[in-house]
Symmetry: D2
Subunit: 345 residues, 4 copies
């Protein structure tokens, strides 16, 4: 099968390339870029010397329709809005890693993203691709909205207790920490080494565009969920996201029983690993892999639970989950080409 990657010069794009170029069912990756063309890919990424003879191609919709079966969009916000609709009705399945197709409510998109949304009929066709929660729909999808990095870690961390009503729906507070690669490859003062190193910084306080995405997904599991508190912190590392989640319990439970609930909930989810009692995952323990690791513990003093959910933001938080969805959409085992151990240390 031939697949295409639009936005191949970004971090999400090159991570897709790393996975797909070793995927047993992918015959070829064709690379597209709006910023460069007819240039060897290794000019952008010399770490692929001797491994890639690919050239960056201009984005030509007709050519893509003739050549690829699945097109990955690893593009900044706004690109998918104009590009995706052109493939509706064609034979090309779209997997969009941007946020353009994730929110079902058009005005929510415009409020949080501060840009124009795609047409509603396109939104209706888009399937939200949190692989573990939406497998049936993903299997049949032609247009897939791949989840954001923070939503992936956060929703997976919360899904069992939200659906099973173990926590008060209005008590959810998420404190997220992320590495810098989530901000993409373009240089800015916010990602300047000398500003990020030896520093922690909170950003987009109460305004992060991933808030409505998380709320929408939790609401789908339990319609009593409305608003959550959510914050994001930039920390001095390249990869990794940790969501530390706090919520009030609806009754008296034990950590052991909650862990059992999580294990059962994710029994058929090979990429979700529930840690044993008194053990919490760190981001390094999923580095370079598609795993989401979860640890939980009840605080009897406050009757709250602390949930820690970690992913590699470029893998399960972007390219890895996109390939997991690609597998599901094409009838492959969902772990195909993805089931690697984390790199440690």
């Amino acid at each position: 099968m031939k697949v295409g990657i639009v936005g191949a010069t970004g971090y999400g794009g090159v991570e897709l390339y790393r996975i797909l170029s070793n995927h047993p069912y992918v015959e070829e990756c064709i690379l597209y870029s709006s910023s460069e063309m007819d240039v060897p890919y290794i000019h952008s990424f010399p770490h692929l010397t001797d491994l890639s003879s690919h050239i960056l191609n201009n984005i030509d919709v007709d050519e893509i329709k003739n050549n690829v079966k699945v097109l990955f969009l690893a593009t900044p916000p706004g690109v998918s809005r104009t590009l995706s609709p052109q493939f509706i009705g064609s034979d090309v399945k779209i997997i969009d890693l941007s946020g353009d197709l994730r929110l079902k409510n058009k005005s929510e998109y415009e409020k949080w993203y501060k840009r124009e949304c795609v047409a509603e009929d396109v939104l209706e066709k888009a399937v939200y691709g949190l692989s573990e929660l939406n497998k049936a729909d993903i299997t049949k999808a032609d247009l897939l909205a791949n989840p954001g990095c923070f939503p992936t870690a956060t929703i997976l961390g919360l899904a069992p207790v939200v659906r099973e009503k173990r926590i008060h729906e209005q008590s959810i507070i998420v404190d997220a920490k992320t590495g810098v690669s989530g901000a993409g490859r373009n240089a800015s003062q916010a990602t300047h080494f000398s500003e990020v190193n030896e520093n922690v910084k909170i950003y987009k306080v109460h305004e992060h565009q991933h808030v409505p995405e998380i709320e929408q997904a939790l609401h789908a599991l339990n319609d009593a969920v409305s608003y959550i508190s959510f914050s994001t912190h930039l920390i001095p590392m390249t990869r990794g996201i940790m969501s530390t989640i706090y919520a009030s319990l609806t009754d008296t439970y034990t950590t052991e029983k909650l862990l059992d609930l999580y294990k059962e909930f994710y029994a058929d989810s090979p990429f979700v690993r529930i840690r044993k009692q008194n053990e919490f995952p760190s981001t390094k323990e999923v580095y370079g892999s598609n795993f989401c690791d979860i640890g939980i513990k009840i605080d009897e003093r406050t009757n709250r639970v602390t949930i820690v959910s970690v992913i590699d933001n470029l893998m399960k938080g972007a390219a890895g989950q996109a390939v997991q969805n690609f597998n599901l959409m094409n009838g492959f085992d969902e772990t195909t080409g993805l089931f690697h151990a984390p790199i440690y240390p």
Copy 2:
């Protein structure tokens, strides 16, 4: 004035030395260590080459009583318990940077620290040294319990809204992030570079010994406070603590009005800097200084407030605040020898 530092070979000790050796009212620092003696201090800290000809001395209580006016204890838990009582009634004022004297409730100490507590009559004499909140008592103290790093950032971040009952007392959730130097200079796998670098790790979940210290101080401001949720994360940097604090508001307020409250509350506190609306401090912005910077913002959707409080854990979180208290205890201006700008970047 001659002062002594016990535990001079640790990070807290050497930071005390850095400040005190430039303090205008300190004639000499005498250094004590239980692990080394009769060894030049620069063997432990070659960055002091040409700056220090000090020798590490054995801890001899009588000699100390004869030679120093103020003794700083920058020692691991348990040392102060046996050492401090020996100076009660002497002319030597004690400033203890460890946690041994901070909790007024002996059984709380034994529960959280998992070691024997000092005698209650000693605890009674100890004054809790959060400089901004307890100035009157500190001024008269002979035995001072210098606050912990997390408590300093957290209590300063919460004090105005707790005392003025702007938040529900049972809704406080604190997500703290710290650099590695807080763990001290002794090597352990938890502080091994290859384990900490490119990683975030939660630790001591619901069991951190700073929890009762924070609760005790908040309770003193508002006796409706009982239990808080508090977690600590190790992030890949050397210095700095950020406490991100979430709490539910008791009424409808504006961020602007809350900022006014903070500015008024800290009007006489030169080391607390309240950031302007829509600006949050990062830890690097207090690096190497004694400042505590605070940013706040209300989330109208959830009617919660997010408070961010940052310090340099070795300065305002340890040695800096100890010298601030030293100044207060001796009638000096509290900023003496301490009012330096942060180092940036």
Copy 3:
């Protein structure tokens, strides 16, 4: 094929495990440790949760002889000296990642390693496993001395110009930089995060035990080589080695011609990548992979050449090359299970 790993709880051991557990010709990895036994491997490495049900076994020579075909020793210096000889004459092939078997001259070992050397008849049997330079002997080896991390980067960087006498043999100066994981997993003040972060440190000046290993290998290529200058610097990163090499040219050459020489020299070496003119590799460009990337440039002003050679110290500098040698020793293609792209960023 069943293989064994002694020293599985170290960084070299777990990297071997990562590669070998995905190797198509390895049926099972049996893990041995002198420090732990009958303990699940995931206690040491929770990042392997759900991926490993292995138990750490005591080191029992007879049991090993009965169960494994190839035994990897990822052990501190001194262990192989006593362990390896016990397998001579058995069916078990040994791949020793420590330095115990690398030096042919026993007194050199004792001088640089400051410990007793293995018997000379064992040394004679050991084949030095720099895969690219010694392929014929490796193919037939039963006892393999896997090269050190610095020697691998340095020797590969120098081999073409040394063998072809393009540089003055007495002019070689190597300035090496390494990440911290090369120091192993045991905690020490030298690897304490707060000491390493935001720091560069030179160490073992003129005394590094890899000096005689490099000299021995270069001497084998060109017996006019005797002594080199070699230094090592610890820099704040986890993985990666860069050897920056300076040498005086024996005649007037062009960078282009030297690059041609390198390309020809390494034409059959899939893991050595010669960079194009005016391009130099960085360590991140080989992260997590078995590649050695080399860039070179002549300075006409001084008629010296600057050679930059980078590897991932745990891969091509340890476990990766060990598996490459394992492949060669067993008649597999040398890239089997190893030919992955670097992880970037």
Copy 4:
């Protein structure tokens, strides 16, 4: 005394501000910027909240002449070329931190900097400000060319053995490592956290503009010096430079004797610290300070010496040395406002 800083929004500028705003003889710092004007300085640097009420001013030569006695130029290359000449003959002394005035040979400047040079008569007036080597001229200077960061570390490391002919002049090889802050505050892909973190990169191989500056200064000490080999590596830290220097000895010496030579050479230089035998400085040991620390050791096997010289690139490598020269130019003790201990860790 009133002083001015042009380029106050850069890292060099803000470090000057940190020092000068605590300098006992500086009454006021006036800040100038070409990129911003009439904007509070704390907008650029919120870490100065409550510490600075300064406004950024437009660069107006007449106003500057009326208001300041000394003007520091912390500007990118090319600015000083047009700005400095306008102050010749005025009462304003210029301290230029850029490279525009350092090279005495105009065509060398144009070759290495690839831009037009200032007029030769201006170059003639400029005094090269390596404080330790050129004190007499600095004392009388009106136009001072403050040295580059790499030249400062390198020249101080080499001066004693070059002047005293202990090394072969054509054998000098310098391998330099730098933190990222030397590249300035402007964002670029080269300083992007995700590209720099967990990476070492060599750059400007054989083409760094500091090469002729080093050669010019060494030639002034010993006219047999012509060309050196010099390379620069970017490592993942914010501050600090290490020059590791290799050279062949002209005779048989001992490390002890060479150390004596260094101590004598720098006997009147309070900011140069010669380390004792078998001790080498790391960059962290000068962090935030104006010290240059030097360690040396002879390798008897090769009869070469290894010299390690470290500085904080923003202090002794830029702003610190500029203030040291300011002190000398104004008849103050050279340590005034500068003699602080490094911050550790």
